[in-house]
Symmetry: C2
Subunit: 149 residues, 2 copies
């Protein structure tokens, strides 16, 4: 799988070994930015936590606000995390998914926070006053889609 | 968070520290079984892979077929994995999610495979002849829902 530096110039194969259509970087980022909900997957106490958040796409990075302690802690730890979005249609039995691998960090710069607040959709879950912005600095983006039959 | 042995007898708190409604075990399992698509999260090459699959609920375990090499390998390795389902409504800004922590293994018993085939919905992605059944033996199930406002 190509990383971000080569993804825009490498040819994209039509399908992968399971017959899914391989989405290019631009299509994957478009889907990532349009999805109202995504899922942060991160190591927590020897398990993998998977928690939905309302995110925004900032360049190629995924940013979200959270007042959840575990999500902020994973960010502070600098753990390798993943962020996933997908969408499905049960009737046509088709769908797509996009997966980001990256590193999480808490956004501390006030100007950056102000800029992110300006771009953000209103979160669905009310946030505490101590809610923090978390940035997933993207290393790799991959996307797959079920081909219609 | 209660494990499976205590989840049915422990009182379920109304909301968690982020204001989400805590779903009980029975409601969580119902949602898990009804969802047509779930996401397997597992360690892969130092990252966390998150891959959608069509699953079935077998008791409290999650089972699915896959011809994807990485998913089968994670199962063979006996890694701690997670399985997540959710559903959302962008208009009302509500939704719920259920998270399973468990251990994955390839199902090798032929009678068990035959029984699972009988219960399974037809997978959306055509499977290779070498597709295997994977069982996520559930250790913990938790669910959260956004309260309507």
């Amino acid at each position: 799988m190509p990383d971000l530096d080569t993804a825009r110039t490498e040819p994209v194969p039509a399908t992968d070994h399971t017959g899914l259509r391989v989405m290019g970087l631009d299509e994957s980022l478009l889907r990532l930015g349009e999805a109202p909900v995504g899922r942060l997957a991160f190591p927590l106490d020897g398990e993998i936590a998977v928690l939905p958040v309302n995110h925004v796409l900032d360049g190629v990075d995924v940013c979200f606000r959270t007042s959840g302690g575990s999500k902020v802690q994973a960010a502070v730890d600098g753990d390798a995390v993943s962020f996933q979005v997908d969408d499905w249609d049960a009737e046509s039995r088709t769908g797509w998914s996009v997966l980001v691998h990256g590193t999480a960090s808490v956004v501390t710069d006030e100007d950056e926070v102000a800029r992110l607040v300006g771009t953000a959709r209103r979160p669905w879950v009310p946030l505490d006053a101590d809610a923090r912005w978390v940035r997933v600095s993207t290393r790799q983006v991959t996307g797959r889609a079920i081909l219609p039959r």
